[in-house]
């Protein structure tokens, strides 16, 4: 086996293959930087070009691309708080605050080094686990997967930081949103409002971009500044410091890489939450993390990035061993395997061991190349942030719109982006943590699925399966430990009578928002009342739980505690904070209104004149009015940016654009391949 591994190394180092791996890496890095684009787009675009290659070169090319998308997705996450792919959403929590403190270079240093080490860990995991993982994975039935997902969801408590009730409520909202679509057992359409779009559920990409990217860009536009670039820190020195950070936190990196590769290897766990689970783990296990995470702690970046890259190696395991792709990108890769006549399964360990080890070497090599290139250009990339916000915000926002549209290439994607953008921004303003909502969304759907399969298949017997019991016990311990700790400390302290006074000033934004969530949950429960039990069960349960959390939150916000509790307020709220130090509340409101008015303009105008033309108008208008740029500058920005997106999305990616009114009016426009944008 060892000589096979070495000869596979030689296969990858063949100059022609090496060139293709490098090419794949470059394309992968480029795709990772653009929000919404990722491995799926790249693989589906390049798959046809591999038809004529020899199979090993083709796979090395594609895997090389896929392995590094999660390396460069850090760049927009750190600089703008906009995740490049869904997998780097957790990176923004600490990466972006670091950039705001002028530590972008250090954040890059830490994340690229964590990425490459995580990626190498994933490759090693792939090499070692392929022979042994098959029987292990076969012991994970639906009940076990259910237990894993419940465990993942229990991290919501940790990820809520000081705002535990809000976090729990946000998670229930996430689960509720996840129930959108056709329920498999009853074929009842839940919250689809008669649209075809919602039948398959809300797609993850526009939801995540809306929740995290739109609010960050909003705050950038409101504050009218990008992150500060401190000359001293945007340097090799800063990067080096970041690398040292990763090495200092070596074991954290190893633990998070292990989380990434193991969870990546288990088919049926949402790959989109792996970074959050690693982040939650770091938060729970690292010293002092409660106080510093979410405020620019480099350990948060390391946790998220190492797990993110390590999962790619892991995800290959289940694809190779079972032909069951763990992620959408892996589904494409599986297609590539089949096209090249390689059938995943036990053969990959015997007759096709060369393929398996080629993949291992490719993942390792691609990670080294990818991080190397990122290091090389980190300074130039960091200086993007020097561009004036009036130019930068509309450009990034425009690509976010098109990127979100890649979710399912339907008009609904843009609406989802906008709706969750507004929700995300509001949550950020009233200090409701957003990560629990995302976690609830991804895991909620899976939990419902596995719960029904488990009951249908095993009745209640599955509850006594050993792995299920163990994981549930660990989950319970994780939840109850902080509660018990608090109880103990309360007992130790002198008993104080709990006196609370009615807070006459409870009527703030937060209260109104919480009240709105309360109404939302009640409406959901009422709307679900007529459905068959199978369709209504989860909405009822999470709706009721959510109402309890929201009710408690409302009650506590109406009361003032007699003694302020410093530990609560000092705790991070586990989400980014907006800082408009020099702006009055009315300024913030006015600018926010204008920003979201522009966003809604894009949504509406896209239905009239098509998405790309609407973005052109938006780029021009936003740069002129919000950015206060001069006409020539605004025109140049709008023309150049639109031309870039036109070439990339219309001609290279051949995006089928959503139907617009203009196209209905003038069908001739649709008949011309150059103007087929409507």
């Amino acid at each position: 086996m060892l000589d096979m591994a070495l000869s596979a190394g030689a296969i990858v180092l063949d100059p022609e293959r090496l060139t293709f791996v490098a090419l794949g890496v470059l394309i992968g890095l480029a795709l990772g930087v653009i929000p919404g684009l990722g491995g799926v787009v790249g693989l589906s675009l390049l798959l046809p070009f591999t038809f004529d290659m020899d199979p090993l070169t083709a796979l090395a090319f594609l895997v090389g691309l896929q392995a590094v998308v999660v390396t460069s997705d850090t760049i927009p996450a750190v600089l703008f708080g906009v995740p490049g792919t869904v997998g780097s959403a957790a990176t923004i929590l600490d990466g972006h605050p670091m950039a705001k403190k002028g530590l972008a270079a250090r954040a890059f240093g830490a994340s690229f080094s964590a990425s490459v080490l995580g990626g190498l860990f994933g490759a090693l995991f792939l090499a070692l686990s392929v022979p042994i993982l098959r029987p292990v994975i076969l012991t994970f039935g639906s009940p076990e997967l259910l237990a894993f997902c419940v465990f993942g969801l229990s991290l919501v408590g940790v990820l809520s930081g000081g705002a535990r009730l809000k976090g729990l409520a946000a998670a229930t909202i996430g689960v509720m949103i996840a129930t959108t679509g056709e329920e498999p057992n009853t074929a009842i359409e839940r919250w689809t409002f008669g649209t075809l779009y919602l039948i398959d559920g809300i797609p993850l990409v526009p939801l995540a971009l809306g929740l995290f990217a739109i609010p960050e860009l909003a705050d950038m536009a409101i504050a009218r500044r990008v992150v500060p670039i401190d000359a001293q820190h945007a340097s090799r020195q800063g990067q080096l410091e970041g690398v040292k950070d990763t090495l200092k936190n070596f074991w954290l990196m190893i633990r998070c890489s292990a989380i990434g590769s193991v969870l990546g290897a288990v088919p049926g766990i949402g790959a989109a939450v792996i970074d959050w689970i690693a982040y939650g783990h770091a938060l729970r296990s690292e010293k002092g993390a409660n106080e510093t995470f979410g405020k620019g702690d480099v350990r948060g970046v390391i946790a998220s990035e190492s797990s993110n890259n390590a999962k790619e190696g892991g995800a290959l395991v289940s694809t190779i061993a079972f032909g069951v792709p763990a992620t959408a990108a892996m589904a494409l890769l599986l297609g590539a395997f089949l096209i090249h006549g390689i059938t995943p399964g036990p053969d990959m360990l015997s007759t096709r061991l060369d393929v398996t080890y080629t993949l291992v070497w490719t993942v390792a090599l691609a990670n080294i190349l990818g991080s190397g290139i990122c290091f090389l250009f980190a300074n130039q990339l960091a200086s993007i942030a020097k561009v004036r916000v009036g130019l930068l915000a509309p450009i990034v926002l425009s690509v976010t719109f098109i990127g979100a549209f890649q979710g399912s290439r339907q008009w609904g994607d843009i609406v989802v982006l906008f709706a969750f953008g507004a929700l995300g921004w509001t949550m950020k303003r009233v200090k409701w943590p957003r990560p629990p909502l995302l976690l609830g969304f991804v895991l909620g759907g899976l939990i419902e699925r596995y719960l029904f399969i488990s009951f249908q298949r095993y009745d209640t017997d599955w509850l006594s399966r050993p792995i299920v019991l163990t994981v549930f016990a660990i989950t319970l311990y994780g939840i109850s430990k902080p509660l018990l700790g608090r109880l103990l400390s309360m007992l130790k302290r002198e008993r104080q009578p709990f006196v609370a006074r009615f807070n006459s000033e409870f009527m703030n934004k937060d209260f109104v928002f919480t009240l709105g969530i309360c109404v939302f949950l009640i409406v959901c429960i009422l709307a679900a009342a007529d459905w068959e039990l199978g369709a209504r069960l989860v909405p009822f349960v999470v709706g009721s739980a959510g109402l309890i959390f929201v009710g408690l939150q409302l009650t506590t916000s109406m009361l003032i505690r007699p003694t302020p509790q410093p530990s609560e307020s000092a705790k991070a709220s586990m989400d980014l904070q907006a800082d408009f130090a020099d702006l009055s509340a009315s300024d913030v409101r006015r600018r926010a209104f204008r920003y979201f008015a522009w966003c809604s303009f894009v949504v509406v105008a896209a239905t009239v004149i098509g998405l790309l033309p609407a973005l052109f108008v938006f780029l021009l208008g936003f740069t002129l009015t919000e950015g206060r740029e001069r006409w020539p500058v605004a025109v140049a920005v709008a023309v150049l940016t639109s031309a870039a997106w036109y070439l990339l999305f219309h001609h290279v990616l051949r995006v089928p654009w959503p139907a617009a009114w203009l196209g209905d009016l003038l069908p001739a426009l649709r008949s011309n391949p150059l103007t087929n944008l409507f």
């Binding site: 398959d200 297609g335 399964g345 249908q456």
Partner: protein, 339 residues
């Protein structure tokens, strides 16, 4: 300004008119034909579309470039709606859908906003043999045993053909299937079979040939019954559902289930495409089906032998299928529990 716009519009319309009058070869020369695939990347639908896309261009007069773009959602209904409403109607954009596309129009006219009678059907390269297969270690491995002994069949959900076929079979033949719905994909059901969670699933012979050729070869799975065209290698000895029912209304129901498998994966153009171009595309497709290079490539990537239907036959078949009697549709809906 309005004058200018008027002129531009006039120009575009004239340009359009000129385009319409061109012969197909002149029109397609130097253009790009986009095939929208109504599924995500990676499965049979996608792979077969890409194989067709790779070879079709050289058979179309003018040799246009052909590209394949995925547009998943709603079991190809999203793509078909898009093609029907907003894709160019000039023969540069074609659709390639899952076999369920006509059935969707019959069962869910509210969602499916296209009319199969108006679509320009170009042809289909393969049909599929729908088959219910169980592990050979399952408690029941024949239809007779399945009438006595309960077995678990995994499906993706009540709305999917993989659920509908066993559900209707169960009703017609009084079988003791326990349908476990909610798996994410056929691959997930196979994994569940491997770990003993379910005993079998409904899929197609190609599916097994692609994903588990070893199971087919070493007899690790047994087939209970099939619908659709018989497969000379895969189906000998396996009962055909059509032979097992006698009542005329049950026969109608079998015909209804078979629509998808006999339609196969169709390639089509939206309504309104100039007839000459539709004919050119149909002829190109027919020539493609005779092309040995394509055939070899298709069989090695899709793992299925060509079983083509030409445009005219496909049009007639769709017409016939769309005339399924309302009583049959009602019976199917009752069994499937959808309204």
């Amino acid at each position: 300004m309005p004058k200018l716009i008027e002129r531009v519009l006039l120009f575009l319309m004239c340009a359009h008119g000129v385009v319409v009058a061109q012969p197909a070869a002149e029109f397609y020369a130097g253009r790009t034909v986009t095939i929208l695939v109504g599924s995500g990347a990676g499965g049979t639908t996608d792979i077969s579309a890409r194989s067709i896309g790779q070879h079709l261009g050289r058979h179309i007069p003018g040799n246009p470039t052909v590209v394949v773009v995925n547009m998943p959602g709603g079991g190809s209904v999203t793509m078909s709606n898009h093609l029907y409403r907003s894709a160019p109607k000039d023969g540069t954009t074609l659709g390639y859908s899952l076999p369920g596309i006509v059935t969707s129009q019959l069962l869910e006219p509210r969602r499916a906003r296209y009319d199969g009678r108006e679509i320009n059907w170009i042809g289909s390269a393969i049909k599929y043999t729908g088959i219910i297969s169980v592990l050979s270690t399952a408690p029941a491995t024949t239809l007779d045993e399945a009438k006595e002994t309960e077995i678990f069949i995994g499906t993706t959900g009540r709305g999917s053909p993989a659920h509908q076929f066993p559900a209707i079979v169960q009703a017609l033949l009084n079988l003791k299937f326990q349908l476990i719905a909610g798996y994410q994909s056929s691959n997930d059901v196979v994994l569940a079979m491997e770990r003993g969670e379910v005993h079998g699933q409904s899929s197609s012979l190609q599916y097994w040939a692609i994903s588990r050729p070893d199971w087919l070869a070493d007899g690790r799975i047994s087939h209970l019954l099939y619908v659709g065209p018989p497969d000379p290698l895969g189906t000998p000895g396996v009962p055909y559902l059509g032979d097992l029912v006698t009542e005329p209304e049950d026969r109608e129901l079998v015909d209804f289930i078979e629509i998808g498998s006999r339609l196969g994966w169709p390639l089509f153009a939206p309504p309104g495409v100039p007839q000459a171009r539709v004919e050119a595309l149909r002829e190109a497709f027919a020539r493609l089906m005779e092309d040995p290079e394509f055939e070899a490539d298709f069989e090695s990537t899709v793992k299925a032998r060509l079983n083509p239907t030409n445009g005219a036959d496909l049009t007639a078949f769709v017409e016939r299928s769309l005339n399924t009697p309302a009583s049959t549709l009602d019976a199917a809906k009752t069994i499937l529990g959808i309204d």
